[in-house]
Amino acid sequence: MSTHTLTGPAPAGLRFHPLRDSATMLRRNLKRMLRYPSMTVMLVGMPVVFLLLFVYVFGGTLGAGLGGPVHSGAVGGRAEYANYVAPAIILMTVTSTVQGTAISIAMDMTEGIIARFRTMHIARVSVLTGHVLGSVIQAVFSLVIVIGVALLVGFRPAAGLGGWLAAAGFLVLVTFALVWLAVALGQVSKSVETASNLPMPLVLLPFLGSGFVPTDSMPAGLRWFAEYQPFTPIIETLRGLLMDKPIGNNGWIALVWCAVIALGGYLWSKRLFNRVGSR
C-alpha cells in the first residue's frame, strides 16, 4: 500500500464502492434495529394508539360530522370515520418512523462511530443511505402492522390490487422523501433529545390538514394553511387510492412535494455530513 502516485488514475485500492458500502451500512442499521426493539415498538405503537383513540373515542362524533356527498354511502359515524382517518394514521406511521430515523442518526453522531467512518476510505454517502434504506424497510414493516390493525378496527378500503400497489409505491416514495429530511434533522440536532423533538412538526402536520377532519370545517386562516401544506395532497392522494376515489390534481401536487422534500433533504443532509466537523 505504499503508493506514491500523485497524479494519474486512482489505484485499485482507492476506488469507491458506494453500493457495497451502502449495503454494509444497511446491514448495520437493520442489526441495530433488532438489538433495540423498544424503539421500533414505540414507533409502531404511536400510530396504533392514535388510531384506536380516533376511531373509538372521537370516531362516533367526528364521523357524524363528516357529512357531505363526498363521503356518501356511509353506514354510520364510527365506521365512516374509520375509513376517513385511516389514511392519516397510515401517513402518521411514516412520520413516526422518520422521527426514529432522526433519533438514530443523532445517536450515531454522539457516539463517535461516525467520526471513525469519516476517517475511513469509504463512500461517505453510504453512512446516510444505510440509514435511509433501513428506515424505509422499517416503515414498510410498521405500515403492514398499522394497516392490519386499521383493517381490524373497521377500515374498509375499496381499492383493488392496482390501487393497493399504487398506494404502496406512493407510501414508499413519501417515506423516502421524509427520511432524507429526517436525516438532515438528525444531523443538525446537537443531542438525541433535540433529534426526537425536531421532527415533531411532521407528526403534527397531518392534524393541520385534511388528515383528521375535512379542511372546510376549519376557520379561514387555518383552512388556507391546511389546503396548501404538503400533507393535505399527500393524504388526499393516499385516501383516493385506497378508497378508489378520484384524486384529481392532488396526485401530481403530492409527487412534486415528495420530489422537492427528497431533493432538499438529500442535499441538506449531504452538505451537513461533508461539512468538516466542528470541534
Binding site: T3, A10, R32, R35, G112, M120, G277
Partner: protein, 318 residues
C-alpha cells in the same frame, strides 16, 4: 525538511483557530516512518485538534501537511486509505457485538468474507476479546472497549495510526496492556502518532516527543534529550528537628531549604559515589537524617519547566 520521503507525517506551519481562540499557532512536526511520535500536552494544549486535522476530520486554516506521502488538502482520500484513528472517545457501535464491529470494518475495507472472518478472529485473539466477542460492546469495560476500538482501527492494516490519549481513563493494568499492544504494532512496522497527557507514557513508548503548549511546540527530542535540557537532579533530605536542618545547611552550603517540611534539596547527579560522599559528610557531623530520597529529572520536571515558565512569564509581565 530533507526527510520528507522517509517521513510518515510532515507538518509545517499548521494553524487553526476557533473564532478568536487560537488553538494551533504554527505547528511544525516530522514523524519518521516506523516510529512512535508522542505529542505531549495538558488538556486544551491542542492535541486533539492536531489529530483531528491530521486524520482529515477538521480542516486547517493554514499550513502544509503530508501524511503517508499524500498531501492532506489535495488527496484526503489517499490519506484516509493509509491511516487508522483511535480517538479519545470510543468509536465502536455499542449495539453490535465485538465480533460484529470487527466484521463491519472488514466489510468496509472490502475484505473477502473468509478473509474478513479470519482477520476478525485473529484480532479478537490478539486483543484478548475472544470470550466477549458475542456480547454487545455496550457491556464492555473501559479497557475492553479501548482494545476493541484499536482492533477495529487495525482491520484495514493502516500504515499510520493516530492514537488520541489511548489510555486516558484506563486502570494501570489495562494501560500497561495497551502499551504492550502499541510496542507490538511498532515492531510490525507501522508509524504511531500518539497524544498523551501522561509523561510516563511518552517516556515508555515514544521515540520522539514534542511538548505542546498553547498550540506551539515548546520542545522536541527524545525523552533523554528533553531530560538533559533541564537540571533537576537532586537529593532530598528530611530532618526530624530544625537543628538538623540548620546543621546540614551549614555543612552543605549550596542547598535549598524548605523550612515547613524540614527538608533540604541538595543538587546531585544521583550517582552512588556522590551519595556516599554526602552520607559520609552528614555522618561525620552526626547529623540525624529522617529520610533521604534521590530525584533524577523526569519528564514531569521537563514538562513543568517548559510549560510552567510560560505561565509565569505571563504573570510577571502583566
Amino acid at each position: 525538511m530533507t526527510t520528507r520521503q522517509s517521513s510518515a507525517i510532515a507538518v509545517t506551519g499548521l494553524r487553526k483557530s476557533f473564532g478568536d481562540q487560537v488553538v494551533l499557532d504554527g505547528l511544525d512536526l516530522t514523524v519518521r516512518r516506523g516510529t512512535v511520535f508522542s505529542l505531549l500536552g495538558a488538556n486544551g494544549a491542542g492535541k486533539t485538534t492536531t489529530v483531528k486535522i491530521l486524520s482529515t476530520l477538521l480542516s486547517a486554516d493554514a499550513g502544509e501537511v503530508q501524511v503517508a506521502g499524500h498531501d492532506l488538502a489535495r488527496e484526503p482520500d489517499a490519506v484516509r486509505a493509509a491511516i487508522g484513528v483511535t480517538g479519545q472517545f470510543s468509536a465502536v457501535d455499542n449495539l453490535l457485538t465485538g465480533e460484529e464491529n470487527l466484521l463491519l470494518m472488514a466489510d468496509l475495507h472490502h475484505l473477502a468474507r473468509g478473509e474478513g472472518r479470519r482477520r476478525a478472529a485473529q484480532l479478537l485473539e490478539q486483543f484478548d476479546l475472544v470470550e466477549a466477542s458475542r456480547k454487545p460492546a455496550s457491556t464492555y469495560s473501559g479497557g475492553m472497549r479501548r482494545r476493541l476500538d484499536l482492533a477495529m482501527t487495525l482491520v484495514g492494516s493502516p500504515q499510520v495510526i493516530f492514537l488520541d490519549e489511548p489510555t486516558t481513563g484506563l486502570d494501570p493494568r489495562s494501560r500497561r496492556n495497551m502499551w504492550q499492544i502499541i510496542r507490538d504494532l511498532v515492531a510490525g512496522g507501522v508509524t504511531i502518532f500518539l497524544t498523551t497527557q501522561y509523561l510516563e507514557e511518552a517516556d515508555e513508548l515514544a521515540d520522539r516527543i514534542a511538548v505542546l503548549d498553547h498550540g506551539r511546540v515548546v520542545a522536541e527530542g527524545t525523552a533523554e534529550e528533553l531530560k538533559r535540557r533541564i537540571p533537576g537532579g537532586h537529593v532530598r533530605l528530611r530532618f526530624a528537628a530544625p537543628q538538623g536542618l540548620d546543621a546540614a545547611m551549614g555543612l552543605l552550603g549550596q542547598a535549598t531549604r524548605d523550612n515547613d517540611a524540614l527538608a533540604l534539596r541538595v543538587p546531585s547527579d544521583g550517582s552512588l559515589r556522590s551519595l556516599k560522599t554526602l552520607i559520609d559528610r552528614l555522618d561525620d557531623r552526626a547529623i540525624e537524617v529522617d529520610e533521604l530520597s534521590v530525584h533524577t529529572p523526569d519528564l514531569d520536571d521537563v514538562f513543568l519547566a517548559l510549560t510552567g515558565d510560560s505561565t509565569n512569564e505571563k504573570v510577571t509581565t502583566r
